[in-house]
């Protein structure tokens, strides 16, 4: 123990350097963790989090009783996670291989630069672009196809719209990581395969794809930890937060955001948040455990 203090004193400069981040994390991340006790309280703004009376697990009973909201938003959160992960990963890999195989390297570089741009546009701006395409009277889609679909009040169509927007936003960016793996493949492998008479498809199937599998596995496993969190902007901004669409567009994160603005139903929302954080923690531990088995170097801890 004495050694420990002596060591810390010797490194006092490092303690000072670590202090700002320590404090920021403490006040911004750690204190709100304690605020999760709200889930077990009958929250009253005037009494504050600690002063409000305890109410046991009433909030959670309420949660399970309200099938429509809680079940529907949890279902949506999971559904979009699955769609985005499956479609996204597939397209990331296809795009990375396509660009890697394309022999006109200059053109490939320019195209890749353009494909990454959408990820830098905020959803607050994206929703205006989406509106230009799908608004009822002035939208390009309705005008070109001679339809008059009311997209902003047709819930069933939104999983498609959101998936397309998500692809547009993130596939170019997501493929960068896989491209860096492809750049590391020894070209001699391809050359040897050519001599053995392998055609392009056989080379992709037997050399390119297998070399991507470790990275795909790691990324998939790591993404499991984030199942309960969504890209809030996509669900809140792009849908214009339209209540008619909630049945297919409301996810946990956008629900909580709405609840904060409406300043209501704190018990229910706190219970939802608590559920989200705990499930998130368990999934994260599970994901990391799996990664540690498959690829120890990529594990977070």
């Amino acid at each position: 123990m004495k050694n420990f203090f002596a060591n810390t004193w010797k490194h006092r400069a490092h303690v000072v350097m670590a202090l700002p981040v320590f404090l920021i994390l403490f006040f911004i991340m750690y204190v709100p963790m304690a605020g999760l006790v709200m889930a077990f309280k009958n929250f009253d703004y005037s009494k504050g989090i600690w002063g409000s009376p305890w109410c046991g697990i009433d909030n959670f009973k309420f949660l399970l009783a309200s099938k429509n909201t809680f079940v529907s938003m949890t279902k949506n959160t999971l559904m979009y996670y699955v769609i985005f992960t499956v479609v996204g990963t597939f397209l990331n890999v296809v795009l990375a291989i396509s660009i890697d195989q394309f022999v006109f390297k200059k053109a490939a570089k320019v195209m890749q630069t353009i494909m990454i741009i959408p990820v830098f546009i905020s959803y607050a701006a994206v929703q205006f672009i989406v509106y230009a395409f799908i608004s009822t009277d002035t939208g390009i889609l309705n005008n070109t196809l001679g339809m008059s679909t009311r997209f902003y009040s047709t819930a069933s169509i939104w999983p498609w719209i959101l998936t397309i927007v998500k692809i547009w936003n993130s596939v170019g960016y997501g493929s960068v990581l896989y491209m860096s793996v492809l750049a590391g493949i020894d070209t001699e492998l391809y050359e040897a395969a050519q001599i053995d008479g392998a055609n392009k498809w056989q080379q992709i199937w037997h050399i390119t794809l297998p070399s991507l599998i470790p990275m795909v596995t790691v990324m998939l496993l790591l993404s499991v930890g984030g199942i309960m969190r969504s890209d809030t902007g996509l669900f809140y901004q792009v849908t214009r937060n339209s209540g008619v669409l909630y049945s297919t567009t409301q996810v946990i994160d956008s629900y909580v955001l709405n609840a904060i603005f409406k300043n209501s139903n704190f018990g229910f929302t706190a219970a939802t948040s608590f559920f989200q954080s705990i499930v998130g923690l368990l999934l994260m531990l599970f994901a990391n455990g799996m990664v540690r088995k498959v690829a120890p170097d990529n594990a977070l801890f």
């Binding site: 350097m17 963790m33 005008n143 170019g172 860096s180 590391g184 020894d186």
Partner: protein, 310 residues
């Protein structure tokens, strides 16, 4: 990166010589996807310069019948607010990124010191927020009713300026690419801890700082959520919140067809129009798109480094 040319390469046709039909088909599909990515952005540009009545009659179009500068001009009608918001956004982006980079690299440096016993605890302390979080609601209540920071720019800066992943990227870079001997040598030459950090480590950290810095700057520039939650005064509204407000007021007018003229006047004198809205969007997303190609190589490097923990 293993792209060595051996004897085999001389025998087999090199990749470059093969520009068969397949390559052109592949190129065609890549071009299609590039257009899918680029056209929506192009539409913002075209709509910003389209005539308002043309949009109302013809709808949004890549080939508007009539072009006009009205949209861009009327952005100037937001005039003062737009300038103020630009100022706020630039301030939080520049200050937030610089401050975040400084404190994160100091932390990364500290926890990568060998023989520093507290480093282990600090690493775990850093990691926990990545696994577990209090969530939006609890954060909102704590920040507003305990810290009393409602309407403070601090809430646009602090929540975004430290992230576990970014510290890990910086720490990995320090551990793998900056030889510890350099730091040791500096100390032997009599440089103190702080001087060693600022004069030896920080300059060598530049590539990693550029990568992390660009990603942070984008996050600051694009943040609408914290602004929407916390900022109420016009003089503190960043650009993204301005966009959200424009959308909300369009919505309000659409849903309330019989808003009296006086109310409309109170909302800034004019209904936000399609062309001017798009011009505003253009003004908001423009700077990032101009800056991005210059940072591309750093940010691709950062992305790649971030995926492999040291």
């Amino acid at each position: 990166m293993g792209k060595r040319k051996g004897n085999l390469a001389d025998l087999a046709p090199s990749k470059k010589e093969k520009k068969g039909l397949g390559q052109y088909i592949l190129g065609f599909f890549l071009l299609l996807y590039t257009m899918f990515c680029a056209l929506p952005v192009l539409l913002v540009f075209i709509a910003a310069f389209s005539d308002e009545t043309t949009i109302l009659q013809q709808g949004f179009s890549f080939f508007p019948k009539k072009l006009s500068l009205d949209g861009v001009n009327s952005v100037l009608r937001y005039g003062k607010q737009l300038l103020t918001s630009y100022g706020v956004t630039i301030f939080i982006t520049v200050f937030g990124t610089a401050f975040g980079l400084l404190v994160m690299s100091m932390f990364a440096y500290s926890i990568s010191r060998r023989d520093f016993r507290l480093a282990k605890f600090l690493s775990i302390y850093l990691l926990i927020p990545m696994l577990f979080s209090g969530g939006q609601l609890s954060g909102y209540v704590i920040f507003t009713s305990y810290y009393h920071l409602k309407d403070s720019l601090l809430l646009l800066i602090l929540p975004l300026c430290v992230s576990t992943m970014n510290v890990i990227i910086l720490r990995t870079y320090i551990a793998n690419s900056i030889p510890n001997e350099l730091m040791e040598a500096a100390k032997i030459d009599g440089a103190g801890e702080y001087r060693t950090f600022f004069q030896i480590t920080l300059p060598l950290l530049k590539p990693s700082l550029a990568a992390v810095g660009f990603m942070m700057a984008t996050a600051f520039w694009n943040d609408w959520q914290n602004a929407l939650l916390y900022i109420t005064t016009d003089s503190k509204k960043p650009l993204q919140l301005l966009l959200v407000n424009i959308q909300k007021s369009i919505e309000f007018l659409l849903n309330n067809a019989n808003v009296p003229a006086s109310a409309r006047a109170a909302m800034g004198g004019n209904i936000p129009q399609y062309s001017s809205t798009m011009a505003t969007v253009l003004v908001v997303i423009g700077p990032i798109m101009v800056a991005y190609p210059f940072f591309q190589k750093y940010f691709i490097k950062g992305l790649t480094v971030g995926s492999v923990k040291g």
